[in-house]
């Protein structure tokens, strides 16, 4: 089948954009921790790029996107080592793209999802344990969940027919639930609640947020897998929801705490982009505005839960990705409309039927539960065997020096 060069150009560009998100995340997270563990934080993202790429090539793409082994649970091993992908194509007739462009595009999703988790265990994880964790998690958690919701014969996408345009389940709820499990298994940082632990370098945080915002256009609009109306809709919806959540987060803060912070603006941007991720191809621009406003406020409130419930989700993966991911998935059940995308569905407010909402809830809860439980087990096994957490003294002095023999800054020379 002849490929469409325009659609291919857009998917290639999108793959590059999404890959760029992980260095962006490294910067975002790296600026948010204290100077003494900045490099370790960034290294968790960079190592995730390294390992996940190899796993994806070796077998994870196959597990996620090869023909289903049954019940929509997992793909088979026919694409091991990316066998059979070099000349094949994927996509609708007239809009075919090289399968390798799709392999690449999807790989970047796997990378950033596992990298996101590192935010929950800032300042205190053993690097060797992290490496093992990434391997196990991509294999046992990410690949099946990606199959469920992204493969046409996965149970969420192909059977349940829940809607998830760009990864509200696979990326957002999945990372939020797994982050909670990790935070619980590793326990709290020294000084949690007592010390301020404020971002050591806010310009880096804002830069990282900007890189993520930019890359998210590839993430969401690229998920159309074509340069078409739906891609344009997904792009503008992403922009609108992201912007709206900046305002609602900052507004929430201003009311609650009296000050609009730049960390709030950056966090709001992420929350909005997360919220619109599953919905961007199925709702109108005004629907996106609504989702952004809700996601920003819900996550602004959600990040304080860790102090109340006493888990140290250090950089707020649960509060931002988990909660706003849920907001996005469930919002679809209310406001999705065939007017935005004839390949979508009508939500409760349009059709009057709760059927779509039910599907969205089932998909969300299934991914949440599976991810939390499986991650909890994986992390506990690592904790009980080689140990997941560094020694208290190392944590206090800072992991960068102890683990990587480096420090982030030597400005005085």
């Amino acid at each position: 089948m002849a490929i469409n060069a325009g659609d291919t150009a857009w998917v290639l560009a999108s793959g590059a954009l999404v890959l760029f998100m992980t260095p962006g995340l490294a910067i975002f997270y790296g600026g948010m921790v204290r100077a003494k563990s900045t490099l370790n934080m960034m290294m968790m993202s960079f190592s995730a790029m390294g390992i996940t790429t190899i796993l994806w090539t070796a077998y994870a793409y196959s597990l996620a996107f090869s023909k289903d082994v049954g019940h929509g649970l997992l793909g088979n091993l026919s694409h091991i080592g990316l066998a059979g992908t070099i000349d094949s194509v994927t996509g609708a007739p007239g809009h075919a793209i090289p399968e390798l462009a799709f392999v690449m595009f999807q790989m970047t999703f796997a990378i950033i999802t596992v990298a996101l988790l590192s935010g929950a265990i800032a300042d205190r994880a053993k690097f060797s344990a992290w490496i093992i964790f990434v391997i196990a998690w991509i294999t046992i958690v990410y690949s099946p969940v990606a199959h469920w919701a992204f493969a046409s014969d996965g149970w969420i996408y192909g059977k349940l027919h829940a809607l998830d345009f760009a990864g509200g389940t696979v990326v957002e709820i999945n990372s939020g639930a797994a982050a909670l499990a990790l935070a619980l298994v590793l326990g709290k940082r020294e000084g949690f609640k007592r010390d301020r632990m404020r971002p050591h370098n806010m310009p880096l945080v804002l830069l990282g947020a900007g890189m993520l915002w930019f890359g998210w256009f590839g993430f969401n609009a690229g998920s159309a897998l074509a340069a078409n109306h739906t891609a344009a809709l997904a792009m503008i919806n992403t922009q609108i929801a992201t912007a709206a959540a900046v305002l609602s987060w900052v507004g929430y803060e201003k009311i609650r705490e009296g000050k609009a912070t730049t960390l709030g603006a950056a966090s709001g941007a992420i929350a909005g982009a997360v919220g619109i991720t599953p919905a961007c191809g199925f709702v109108t621009p005004l629907g996106a505005l609504l989702i952004g406003l809700i996601a920003g406020a819900v996550s602004a409130y959600g990040v304080s839960l860790k102090y109340k419930l006493n888990y140290d989700d250090s950089l707020d993966v649960v509060g931002v990705h988990g909660l706003s991911g849920l907001v996005g998935m469930l919002s679809i059940g209310f406001i999705a409309t065939l007017k935005a995308n004839s390949a979508g569905a009508d939500g409760l407010f349009i059709s009057g039927s709760p059927s779509l909402l039910g599907k969205q809830a089932i998909a969300s809860i299934a991914v949440l539960a599976y991810s939390f439980i499986a991650t909890y087990i994986i992390a506990t096994i690592i904790q009980k065997t080689i140990g997941f957490r560094v020694h208290r003294d190392v944590e206090i002095e800072g992991v960068d020096t102890a683990i990587h023999a480096e420090s982030a800054y030597e400005l005085g020379r």
Binding site: K193, D195, R196, R198, R256, E257, G258, T261, L263, G264, Y301, V303, S304, L305, Y307, D316
Partner: protein, 112 residues
């Protein structure tokens, strides 16, 4: 020979520098610090959690003066650093046994 050490608000450095230069003081050394004193215990809510902010950015200013100039320079610095609000800072004076100008190896008052 005396060393005056002042811990003051960062925003006051330019004024103090100008005042010293205007009054013929030969030099000064500035470095960054932070601290608490009376100006502490101020609570801050940040991302839904309440913290006590207690290390507030300050600047350290050091000036070497002849004994004869001490009172004049000290008063000048106190006045210029003063904004009347809490956290204005502390100034203390210590005795110096010897001073050397590196370039010329001059010692004592000549080295200032």
């Amino acid at each position: 020979m005396k060393l005056i050490t002042a811990i003051v608000k960062p925003g006051r450095v330019d004024e103090i520098k100008a005042a010293l230069q205007a009054n013929g003081v030969a030099g000064m050394t500035v470095s960054e610090a932070s601290g608490f004193g009376r100006q502490k215990g101020h609570k801050e809510i940040y991302r839904g959690a309440e913290y006590t902010v207690d290390l507030i950015p300050k600047v350290r200013i050091e000036v070497l003066v002849d004994d004869a100039d001490l009172d004049r320079v000290l008063d000048l610095m106190v006045q210029t650093a003063n904004t009347g609000s809490i956290g204005d800072g502390k100034i203390w004076v210590t005795s110096v046994d010897a001073v050397v100008r590196v370039r010329t190896n001059e010692r004592g008052s000549d080295a200032l």
